[in-house]
Amino acid sequence: MKKRRTARVFTRRDFIKGAAMGTLGMALYGKGRPMFAGEAAGAVPFAADDPQSVVVLLRNEKAVGPGDKVDAAVVQEMIDTALTEFSGEADTAKAWAKYVHADDTVGVKFSRCDWMKVHTDQAVIDAVVKRVGEAGVAKERIFAQDGGLPFAKCTALINVPPVKVHTLTGIAVSMKNYINFSPAPSKYHAPSTNLGEIFLLPEVKGKTRLIIVDLLRPYFGPGPQVNPLHRWNYHGVMVGTDPVAVESVCLNICQAKRNLFKGEPWPITPPPDFIAAADKTYKLGTSDPARIKLIRLGWDKDILV
């Protein structure tokens, strides 16, 4: 396929943002799509030959059926396949064993947002918990929770967020999923630039073994409460270990969906500054699409990325 690149100008709004953040290079915000470091050289986003981070996206048309009913068996198979691909191991058991050990205390951090109703689907949570158990972790040492998860006593965390565009942070995936690990979560709302520092809290740092993203039914609208028109069945799951790369890919998917919905650029707002800050300031991973390799598996209709 021929490599294609879209011209992108540095706007006045980028300039103001860059000045406020102390570096112009941190500007991720663009008119409908993010900019990235390799763009000028003609790099194709998320196709790094020598990637800093790998992300696996797997979609299955049968994951969500009529009435938005999620097929739990299909979801389990999707997660297993995606993780096996990501790990490079031969089978599911070996793949999970690479990230979770029998002597771990595991926190499965999902999101259950009663007011917005864009939760991590129960099928995704159940699939993860089942495999963690099969990896040898005793039931009483698996904590699958949103609020109140005892992360301090966990030796391993599995970050299992849904995907939603968010009124205050721009987007909410793996980074915002940890917001309630902070004693002062509201300080990461508008602006959310420092969201990445939560990953460096002593009781959180280095514990995230896997990120398994529920991309079955993401949300791309402005919020703060859900408008059903802004939710779509994407039929996907994503696996990675780099929260910044995961966030960057999901941002691109949601931005593309917004543009399609309006038939013109509909930039995510406020711009999710925290993604670039998580890369440049907190060194949690890469936000540069030229340094990310996205492995796409399964159904590719309307994949958007």
């Binding site: 706007t11 006045r12 103001i16 007011w115 509201s186 609208g221 703060p224 707002t269 406020p270």
Partner: protein, 296 residues
């Protein structure tokens, strides 16, 4: 929860007239759990950080009732009591995607979600999943609420100054602060325009001569604050030296679009992302003219 807060909520529930307008049952859906009220003090318990958007308006409290029925989606009715009709209208303009329906002073329905406003009330009724029966029940609840609100309220005076020609349908939003502006349209992560709870802001999109533009019309509480915002926008966004009274012509920016502004007393007319200079000038001129009419 503090005892005083419980008492206050009990008083709100007892005194809220629209509570009585909601039936205990509609088309087989019955009131599921106890009615709830959330005030400015605990709105975050209801909608987490999303409460910031309501707190940016003169929100007083939200009354919440859930309706349930076996083997049917649940329906939640939320009635937001605002201090002014202008802010009820403002909250309504936060998200306008959906189909307009005839209800109250404005209503939009989209796939199981009804949003409407009348006087000082903003309402939001939503089913977990849309079905024909759920839609009928939602509309029925909306009609009962609206019928119990005795009068219409005024829209913000400021919107009368908007040029009518070229105004993109459903593009108008009304708010006060930076957090609302950023939710609609990102200008900058610093408060260049000095927005505050005391400012009134209308944001609208225009289509004219085959191009588009955005208008931000802002009313400040004093001329001094308007001049301050004018100077900041000129220096930080247009990168032009500011002197009180100095007019700066529309400026072509890096993306090829034009931006410009004009102050009129306590009002600031800002046009951004204008594809054509002539459209920008027309919007500013027409808005200025309309404002003169408003002042009289």
């Amino acid at each position: 929860m503090a005892q005083s807060q419980v008492t206050d909520k009990a008083k709100i529930l007892a005194a809220f007239p629209l509570r009585g307008a909601l039936p205990p049952e509609i088309s087989g859906w019955k009131s599921g759990r106890e009615d709830q009220v959330f005030t400015r003090d605990d709105i975050f318990d209801f909608m987490d950080g999303g409460g910031e958007i309501y707190l940016a308006y003169d929100f007083q409290f939200v009354f919440v009732r859930e309706y349930v029925q076996p083997d049917a989606p649940s329906i939640v009715a939320e009635i937001y009591q605002m201090t002014s009709s202008q802010d009820a209208f403002g909250v309504f303009t936060h998200d306008t995607d959906g189909d307009e329906v005839e209800l109250g002073q404005g209503a939009i329905y989209a796939a199981g979600l009804l949003r409407f406003w009348k006087d000082r009330i903003f309402g939001r009724i939503m089913a977990d999943r849309e079905t024909p029966e759920a839609r009928a029940a939602i509309m029925g609840l909306g009609e009962k609420i609206v019928a119990a609100i005795p009068q219409d309220g005024e829209k913000p005076e400021l919107i009368k100054a908007l040029p009518a020609e070229g105004l993109r349908p459903k593009s108008l939003s009304y708010f006060h602060t930076l957090i609302s502006l950023n939710a609609h349209f990102y200008l900058a992560n610093v408060n260049i325009l000095r927005l505050s709870p005391e400012t009134e802001v209308v944001l609208a999109r225009y289509e004219k001569e085959g191009s588009t533009a955005r208008l931000l019309l802002i009313e400040y509480p004093s001329v001094e604050r308007t001049v301050d915002a004018e100077g900041r926008f000129m220096e930080m966004f247009l990168l032009e030296r500011f002197e009180a009274g100095r007019r700066v012509p529309p400026k072509k920016l890096e993306d090829g679009n034009f931006a410009g502004l004009l102050r009129s007393g306590r009002y600031l007319i800002v046009v951004i992302e204008a594809g054509k200079k002539s459209v920008l000038e027309w919007i500013i001129k027409t808005t200025f003219h309309n404002l003169e009419g408003l002042k009289q």
